[in-house]
Amino acid sequence: MKSIYKYIFTVVALFAVTASFGQSVHDLRLNEMMIKNEDNYADEYGRHVPWVEIFNTAYNTVNITGCYLTDDTTGLARAGKKGGEIPARWYRIPTDQKMYMPQRSFLIFFLDNSPLYGPFHTNFTPEKSNTRYIALISSDGKELLDLVEYPVELRDTSRVFGYVADGVRDNKAFKKGIRASGELNFLSDFTPASSNETEVKISKQDKLKRDDPYGIGMAIISMAVVFTALIMIYVMLKIFNYASRRATMKSKAKEEAAKTPAMAAATGTKADDEAVNGETVAAIGTALHLHFGSMHDEESEVITINMPSKHYSPWAQKELTMKRNPRR
């Protein structure tokens, strides 16, 4: 019995691990931002307002509905508690089909203190804020998903600030509240809703050629994945086997129980010594067959009845008038 639980646990754990890696808001980054927007990126109303770009670094879709954007994290501990109040300068990202971010995609939010303008317009603006950061908070209000502290010059100059390499963050350092040097910087190009890495990108194939010129790495990973997939099926089949064995044992036990005189009396079946089993029936059947077989004479010919082979075809059907002669 223990082994069945072991297998079921393995399968469930595999799914749980996979699920925990899927659709995670922890993959979101505040990739690029602009505070003093004079004549750059305009919102859908043609206004030049501060904006921040969220980047989904994952290779799967992430739903960002319910997460918060803010420039004031002071209420973080309070908001996370049950019944805790959500601070005024926290913008809750509303439910919208567009909030499902496909893999490696970007979304722009306008920090314009105009939430009535649409789901991408926040209820705060960093222009007159006392703080110098933008933060992204999880939907339960407990966790800081990303926080980008920007230099003071960003308020006075029309420049963009963000991750030098798209969403690449030292997570250990971030958890300690520090940033790896060179991770964030002023960006040379202004790239809302697209990659910050404006240098010529090498193709997937060239990258593979460069990083794994002999294909050994890919071969090892691929074989590992093939084995993993088939081992998962193996575990599933083991569970099948176990269940099948148990079912067989149960039915055998039932049969055995039915054979005891007491049970036989209770169930109305014949006891073992009186029961006729399958082998006996087969032996009797064979004996009868041989007996009746030997009673026959040697026949020189065998008469059988064969159905005439006549294939159906609508062309031959008189009722369908396919072969009706033309009228004169």
């Binding site: 996979t18 691929s222 997939a229 088939l230 099948f240 086997n241």
Partner: protein, 381 residues
């Protein structure tokens, strides 16, 4: 008047096959005839070799460009039929039929055999590494490597995505080696096994219940497609076809999928893949390399399966041991590879029937090659 006749005749000749024939066309037509002969006389995979062989002949009838008759000419009938190959929708339909034909009982009753199907996929990646060393690009190498999966539809599916220009050569190579399974595999199996190992008798498989058969495709699609979603077109159709077969309530659909539908698609895929091997595209040094690499990957795949069984046996005791002669069946040439196991096994012990045991790794190979194809796509596409 005479001048008119002369001119007309010359013009007609310039449009005819005789006027445009090259040595390349003649060689390819001969290749087509050999395929047909192998299919009809030797009965090597006739359902594949006859349509492909005839397709090669059709594709290599010389003609003047612009007549809208060639497989590569927009608007040509053959071009429309070829669309299913280019866009990769014939292979999943064939997988639907394979699923509806395949009985996974052997695998369900002896789950450890599935690991042989995984080991045999090493041929794909060995060929990938070798192709890279020979100067092919990673995408081309991936498309060539898949020949080692011994699965024609998968080879077409992958090459249509990764290396469309090589698809003809890859498909013909894959199908040729699949047809030659009874010729290629036995010497490798004999070379890698000892006489004692060939006599191993395996425990008869247990009876598999209807419930297990129904649950199998549903669980498998969940497990494999979550891991390799890129293999979804092939895996999804394979397990869907199997569910149609095993559910017991969709007999008509299963019969259509495993009968008329798969027959129609086999005709179309065979004919158009054959027709795509026009001499101008096909007769290149790269094609020769593809054939060599294809054979190499097939050999490695077979050897990997056999050697994996020998390794696995080190951990197994008594009647749990596996006869290494079923290791070759890890490639997904169903059921030819399993039949080879049976024939080879009976050469050493006429009462040892390995067919049902070999069907386990054989169908596992189908799943394994589809998973491997998905991985190749996720890395390279």
């Amino acid at each position: 008047m005479l001048e008119f006749f002369k001119e007309g005749l010359l013009q007609f000749l310039s449009y005819s096959g005789f006027g445009n024939c090259t040595w390349g066309h003649i060689i390819m037509i001969c290749v087509g005839l050999v395929f047909i002969a192998l299919g009809i006389i030797k009965e090597y995979e006739p359902l594949l070799l006859v349509p492909i062989g005839f397709g090669i002949i059709i594709g290599n009838i010389p003609f003047t460009d612009g007549l809208q008759v060639g497989v590569y000419e927009n608007g040509a009938v053959l071009n429309y039929l070829y669309f299913g190959v280019v866009k990769g929708f014939y292979p999943p339909l064939i997988f639907l039929g394979i699923g509806a034909m395949t009985d996974f009982s052997a695998l369900i009753s002896n789950p450890k055999l599935i690991l042989i199907g995984a080991a045999a996929q090493f041929g794909i990646f060995a060929a990938y590494i070798t192709a890279l060393l020979l100067g092919f690009t990673p995408m081309e190498a991936g498309a060539i490597g898949i020949i080692g999966g011994a699965d024609g539809p998968t080879a077409i599916f992958i090459s249509s995505k990764l290396a469309p220009s090589m698809m003809g050569a890859i498909a013909v190579s894959a199908y040729s080696y699949m047809a030659l399974v009874p010729v290629i595999q036995p010497p490798i199996m004999r070379a890698l096994t000892t006489p004692q190992e060939r006599l191993i008798r395996m425990r008869p498989p247990r009876a598999v219940s209807h419930r297990e058969k129904v649950l199998f495709p549903m669980m498998c699609i969940l497990l494999t497609a979550f891991l390799v979603p890129t293999g979804l077109p092939l895996l999804g159709m394979l397990f869907f076809g199997n569910l149609l077969k095993e559910s017991g309530v969709t007999k008509r659909l299963a019969n259509t999928a495993s009968g008329p539908l798969v027959d129609i698609v086999t005709i179309l895929i065979g004919l158009t893949v054959g027709a795509s091997t026009q001499a101008t595209n096909f007769l290149r040094p790269a094609s020769v390399l593809i054939f060599v690499l294809g054979a190499f990957s097939f050999v490695i795949a077979t050897a990997s399966g056999v050697l994996f069984v020998k390794f696995f046996n080190l951990f197994l005791k008594g009647d749990n041991k596996i006869n290494p002669l079923i290791g070759n069946a890890g490639v997904s040439a169903v059921p030819d590879a399993a039949r080879v196991s049976l024939i080879e096994g009976q050469k050493y012990d006429r009462t040892n029937f390995l067919l049902m045991h070999a069907m386990g790794p054989n169908v596992a190979g189908v799943i394994g090659s589809a998973v491997a194809a998905g991985i190749l796509l996720s890395f390279l596409y």
